[in-house]
Amino acid sequence: MSDDNSELSARQRDEARAALQRDLPFALSPSGSFPSPEGGPDLLATSDIVVEAQQIAAVARYLRASLNYIYLSNITAVDLLAHGCFELVYHFYRLSGGPALTIKTRLPREKPELPSLTPFWPGAAFQEREAYDLFGIVFKGHPDLRRIYMWDEFEGFPMRKDFVRQGDKYLSE
């Protein structure tokens, strides 16, 4: 059963990649624009579709208009400290069912900025604010980009891997 699902999601992915190649070729990101650390695990290697960060809004709208992925479910930010970048992972669905289409995009750690999806999917508003609060990722065009969990006076982005932590749990670090 899970084999069915993984086959299905691979097929969906290939279809979407082919369609993007045809209609938005400039949006597909060339892989390897961020260095991989020596010795450590290569977290950048992926079989999912990786797009250019600045084109994410165009890609998302294309997916909705042409490929019927009208449901934006999940936005995740990942701090890849060793690679010097943030990765943003978007999960889209079709209402007719089926597994998620995963779209990834990468941002330099020094200037994490990309277009917001909130103007097109208001459901992204809180998730983008969360990524801003905890990782410091700036979503351009977000109508209300404020901290969501921590208080406004707070400095720093606690979910970044280089944020100071202390306590019994972190003794081994």
């Binding site: 290697a45 934006l72 990942v78 089926g98 999917w121 992204a124 969501i148 979910m159």
Partner: protein, 369 residues
């Protein structure tokens, strides 16, 4: 002509109707809401950061505390994510036990949600006492299998931690037999009370298109008339073996949301009866004996989602090949279901705010994480 000034009112974070430590900033014209902004973070417990410091198994009890009404459902979503990441098989019997637990959780959650709705509308604790009575019966079953009432920590990678005790199945059978009477009573209370009808019908309407663009999931999405249930749309576990219906609403108001919940309780009971029938034939034991609990998944990522009682509960895990997740993200249904709250309340009276909020059915442990 009397003129009214604009008024700002702050509700919460300590307020009996906000379902925990939730805060609402409202701007009012008379008694009508012009603008409503939710404020989060009063229960931000850093699940995600602690999840990166824990090993995979250590995170299991933490998921209990996300949506503390539905610890079994949270366990299930997390176990699925790790199993996908590490490629662990689950024996059939374990799948049945899991489904039984999660469906019981759904009944428990919906009964509680409806109890709180009455509470919010001023029937101070009457209905809540009935719902909690039902909840206690289910908690007894949970305690029987896991040893804890609320924080069950019952699932393991590749199964569940121990098999059902012999007295469990008869007790469950008794519970299911007594359940229709309870559900009917609940429905009568809701649909035959005129005050209730006046306060819930045509309040907080969420149209279909908005529901989709707001990424709303769960009973709220279905009340708006979209038959999307992950158990059918992307069947996980063994949900493709059961016969059940997806109830949908026609208007998308508060009333519909609760009718959908009541109907879902009936459907859950149907699933439970089928699971009870099929359980004796299931192969395998309660856990895959080859599954290791101190997993070390290969480098990669996995996203799994389940239809938790509140909506789509997803876990996104990134593994760097060590014993701890590199990234541990929770897609919390009630957090994202809150997005349309401001729009839903605009134009309604301030007394309706608590009812609308109650109909979204939030749990702060999950909203703030």
């Amino acid at each position: 002509m009397l003129s009214t000034d604009e008024l700002q009112i702050n509700i919460g974070p300590q307020h009996p109707s906000t379902h925990g430590v939730f805060r609402l900033l409202t701007r009012l014209e008379g008694e009508t809401i012009i603008e409503l902004t939710p404020v989060f973070g009063y229960l931000h417990r850093n699940h995600e950061q602690l999840g990166e410091a824990n090993s995979y198994l250590q995170n299991m009890p933490f998921t209990d505390r996300l949506d503390y009404f539905n610890s079994m459902a949270n366990n299930h979503a997390y176990a699925l994510a790790v199993e996908k990441l590490a490629g662990i098989e689950v024996p059939e019997r374990a799948e049945y036990i899991r489904v039984i637990m999660v469906e019981l959780t759904r009944i428990l959650n919906h009964a509680g949600a409806i109890g709180f709705l009455f509470n919010d509308m001023g029937a101070w604790q009457t209905q809540l006492a009935f719902s909690m009575r039902e909840r206690e019966k289910i908690l007894d079953l949970f305690e029987m299998v896991s040893g804890a009432r609320m924080m069950c920590n019952y699932f393991r990678f590749g199964g569940v931690v121990r098999d059902l005790p012999p007295e469990f199945l008869p007790a469950l059978q008794d519970l299911l037999e007594a359940m229709p009477a309870f559900i009917d009573e609940l429905e009568r209370l809701l649909s035959e009370n005129e005050i209730l009808l006046a306060r819930t019908q045509n309040i907080g309407i969420l149209p279909k298109e908005l529901a989709i663009s707001y990424s709303v999931t769960g009973p709220m999405l279905r009340a708006s008339g979209i038959p999307y249930d992950i158990r059918k749309a992307e069947p996980y576990s063994i949900y493709d073996r059961f016969d059940f219906d997806i109830p949908i609403g026609s208007v998308g108001d508060v009333y519909d949301r609760f009718l959908v919940r009541i109907e879902e309780m009936r459907q859950s009971r149907r699933i439970l009866l089928q699971a009870l029938e099929q359980l004796p034939d299931a192969t395998g034991s309660h856990i895959n004996p080859k599954a290791r609990q101190n997993v070390r998944p290969p480098v990669g990522d996995a996203y799994t989602r389940i239809e938790s009682p509140k909506g789509e509960l997803g876990f996104y895990l990134v593994s760097d090949g060590s014993t701890k997740p590199y990234r541990y993200k929770i897609r919390a249904p009630s957090f994202i279901n809150l997005t349309p709250l401001g729009d839903l309340c605009r134009g309604h009276k301030i007394a309706d705010v608590v009812v609308i909020l109650g109909s979204i059915d939030i749990v702060l442990g999950e909203v703030d994480r």
